[in-house]
């Protein structure tokens, strides 16, 4: 896989994830950042985008739900579903940087409009059922993120504009939802029950209907009892209107899925050094492997680093206790004791995180990993993102 970053020269360090190599490799056209919620996916995506642009890549960053100040730092003051240029980055190398925030409903509307006659599109958009699906269907956000990615990729090729698209994935219940949602929506729209509901309208469906007819009648009766007859009617109109688009939906979902499998794509899994986040990362890595998706590697974000690594935590604690016992020590003794206790605390955290990270690497031999130290401050400007970019790519 060409997009896979080259293993570093030192064989002992063969599993180091080299994100700079990935960004420099012009064959990398799409970077997908995925992982559990709260691990810093958006920040990593934005930092990679900025770094790529400052290398001279023409980058667009697609974010899903950025923190307010991070969004502001990227110039994303409104959610208008269109990439906007980011001000303040260093364009000396000839790169460019655009960013956008996903508007899920609007993207869905656009898909409908692109695939149906204006008359039919209007009918679909007005259907109450469509409104429910397009704004709250579990998985719509993931599906639309994929759709948007497909659109950006097509536009990039047509206009020869962006040569790198960095995508941040939605804050799903599970990171895997991003891969599963499009299929789920597709299979839902192609679902048996919907087909059965539509069957009377189709000549070919008759035999099928007959076989299941008593069951279906019963099912529809129960459904109207629970939901009310109007709902089923709305569903039927909606499905009828969408019918011509079914193929389109399927095809698009399949196409974007294929794009993700293409070696021009690189998945970067982001995790925090915590049990749950690493477990999610584990699932994701296994899944990507299983599906032969181009996994670049894993970022273990916000690792506790020690500035005084030569002193062990237990030694620090023992010394702190000794100082406290002496009592009438020097004037600076309370400060020193505090420094030692803080160090013991940090060392314990660092040790636990290291153990978790080690267990992760041991469980996934050969998967490139990079560990990124925790920043003392929150990130909300380009300078902060630049620092994250440096930390991400430090050897």
């Amino acid at each position: 896989m060409p997009a896979k970053p080259k293993a570093s020269a030192d064989p002992a360090d063969a599993t180091h994830l080299d994100l700079d190599a990935l960004l420099h490799d012009r064959r990398t056209r799409i970077i997908v950042c995925c992982g559990a919620g709260g691990v810093g996916k958006t920040t990593v995506a934005a930092a990679l985008g900025l770094r790529g642009a400052e290398f001279g890549r023409r980058v667009v960053v697609l974010t899903i739900d950025p923190a307010r100040r991070l969004a502001q730092s990227l110039g994303l003051t409104e959610l208008d579903n269109t990439p906007r240029p980011v001000a303040g980055f260093d364009s000396e190398a000839g790169g460019s940087l655009d960013a956008m925030m996903l508007d899920m409903k609007r993207t869905f509307d656009e898909v409908v409009e692109a695939h149906a006659t204006p008359e039919k599109a209007a009918q679909i958009l007005a259907n109450p059922f469509y409104q429910a699906v397009s704004s709250s269907f579990a998985g719509t956000q993931e599906y639309m993120a994929m759709e948007k990615l497909g659109q950006l990729r097509t536009r990039a090729a047509e206009e020869d504009s962006w040569d790198l698209i960095v995508v941040d994935t939605p804050p799903s219940r599970s990171a895997l939802d991003f891969l599963d949602a499009p299929k789920r929506l597709g299979s839902f729209l192609d679902g048996r029950f919907i087909r059965l509901l539509m069957a009377p309208a189709k000549a070919g469906g008759r035999a099928y209907l007959k076989m299941f007819s008593s069951g279906v009648t019963m099912a529809t009766t129960v459904m109207s009892k629970i939901l009310g007859g109007q709902v089923l009617q709305d569903v039927q109109t909606f499905v009828a209107a969408l019918d011509t688009m079914f193929g389109g939906f399927r095809e698009r979902a399949d196409k974007t899925y294929a794009l993700l499998k293409n070696p021009e794509t690189a998945f970067v899994v982001v995790a925090a050094p915590e049990r749950d986040a690493l477990r999610e990362a584990s699932f994701f890595v296994d899944r990507l492997d299983e599906e032969r998706m181009p996994l670049a590697g894993v970022v273990i974000n916000r690792i506790q680093r020690l500035a005084a690594p030569t002193l062990s935590g237990s030694r620090a604690l023992a010394a702190a206790e000794q100082l406290a016992e002496v009592g009438d020590g020097s004037e600076s003794a309370p400060l020193t004791e505090g420094l030692l206790r803080l160090h013991a605390n940090l060392a314990e955290t660092a040790e636990r995180q290291e153990a978790l990270a080690r267990r992760f690497t041991a469980g996934h031999p050969g998967i490139p990993v990079v560990e990124v130290p925790a920043a003392a401050q929150d990130i909300h400007d380009l300078e902060g993102l630049r620092e994250v970019g440096q930390a991400l790519t430090a050897p």
Binding site: G37, G38, V39, D65, A67, R68, P128, F129, Q131, A132, S136, F137, A138, P171, R173, R184, F188, F193, G215, V216, M218, A219, V222, M223, K225, I226, L227, G228, V231, E274, R275, D276, A277, L306, A307, A308, T310, L311, R315, A319, Q322, L323, V326, S330, E331, S332, P334, L335, T336, G338, L339, R341, L342, H343, N345, E348, T349, R352, A376, D378
Partner: protein, 335 residues
């Protein structure tokens, strides 16, 4: 205006715990449930996103739709757990309201269950929260027929971004069902959710994004007339150094370095210039973190809710850690 939460949450029977992803809302829900259990209560801890967070937190086998006892306290408290399954909830619902034993199977066969639970997100949420509602309101029957089965129910709810939609079942079903039993069910759930026996607690970290989301969530919950509970601040870095000491060290790092080196030597620690500089650097970063925390804490304190603090456990939150956090909640008088 929503009814104000009582100063302590003694009268609350349904605790709903939400928070931004990564803030540890499952941990806090677990700690709260355990704290209630340790008071000798019979408690149910429920999750609704099939994440198996409870089983991982308590290190017990995966939990299903059936309520399973996971903790038994010597004092008599019992903690039950369940991971609500939407299909099973629908089946139970059909059975209860329509006595549809066979129809349930047929519905399943033609894919209608899948259909109903995926397509109508509102329906899905009504079923999930409906199951929690049922458990919270369940009576013992027999001699103690009016006594509730559970003294308290703790719900590990969806994260802040989705929680209001999840709890606002009335608005959700308004789109799909204007009359009929689903509507009635939604109405009774809403009545319970808005009553003073329910409290929605929001978990936050002292970082910018989680604090912002907490503030937003409180506003949204208020607008939806849901009864606000407490703000629980998780993973608080306790200040380990006095501010005065830090200031002194920062104003003259060279002198501080010399003094600290001497202290370390007196405690027989082998020192190096790099190590002492490192210790002071860590203190500076710690001070920065603490200052940032204070800034964020002030924003949370200004929300007019009770605030409870849980320490960052350097050893992590395994089953033992949950007990430490549970005790912290009890000691601070949350329940």
């Amino acid at each position: 205006m929503p009814p104000p939460a009582a100063p302590s949450h003694a009268g609350v029977r349904l605790h709903i715990v939400t928070g931004k992803g990564g803030t540890g809302k499952t941990t806090v829900a677990a700690a709260l449930a355990l704290a209630l259990t340790r008071q000798g209560k019979r408690v149910l801890l429920a999750e609704v996103e099939e994440r198996q967070g409870i089983s991982q937190t308590f290190d017990v086998p995966p939990i299903g739709h059936d309520e399973t006892r996971i903790v038994h306290e010597r004092g008599g408290g019992e903690l039950y757990a369940m991971s609500v399954d939407v299909r099973e909830s629908l089946m139970e619902y059909l059975q209860k309201f329509y006595r549809l034993g066979r129809a349930g199977t047929v519905l399943e066969k033609v894919g209608a269950v899948d259909f109903a639970t995926t397509i109508a997100p509102g329906l899905r949420d009504v079923l999930l929260i409906g199951k929690v509602y049922e458990a919270a309101g369940r009576r013992q029957g027999g001699r103690h027929k009016d006594r509730p089965v559970y003294d308290a129910v703790v719900l590990d709810a969806p994260p802040t971004g989705r929680v209001v939609r999840f709890l606002n079942v009335n608005a959700e079903v308004a789109d799909v069902a204007k009359v009929g039993p689903i509507r009635t069910q939604a109405d009774s759930i809403t009545r319970m959710l808005r009553s003073h026996t329910t409290a929605v607690h929001v978990v936050s970290l002292l970082e910018e994004m989680p604090v912002q989301e907490t503030v937003d969530a409180l506003t949204e919950l208020r607008a939806a007339s849901l009864p606000l509970g407490a703000i629980v601040i998780n993973q608080v870095h306790e200040p380990l150094l006095e501010e005065a000491e830090l200031k002194a060290a920062a104003s003259d790092p060279a002198a501080a370095g010399t003094a600290v080196t001497a202290d370390l030597k007196s405690a027989s620690v082998r020192t190096s210039a790099a190590m002492v500089a490192g210790l002071l650097e860590q203190a500076r970063e710690h001070a920065e973190r603490v200052a940032l925390q204070q800034e964020q804490e002030a924003i949370l304190l200004a929300q007019g809710r009770q605030v409870f603090r849980l320490p960052l456990l350097p050893e992590g939150t395994d089953a033992g850690g949950i007990r430490v956090l549970a005790d912290a909640l009890t000691d601070q008088g949350m329940i």
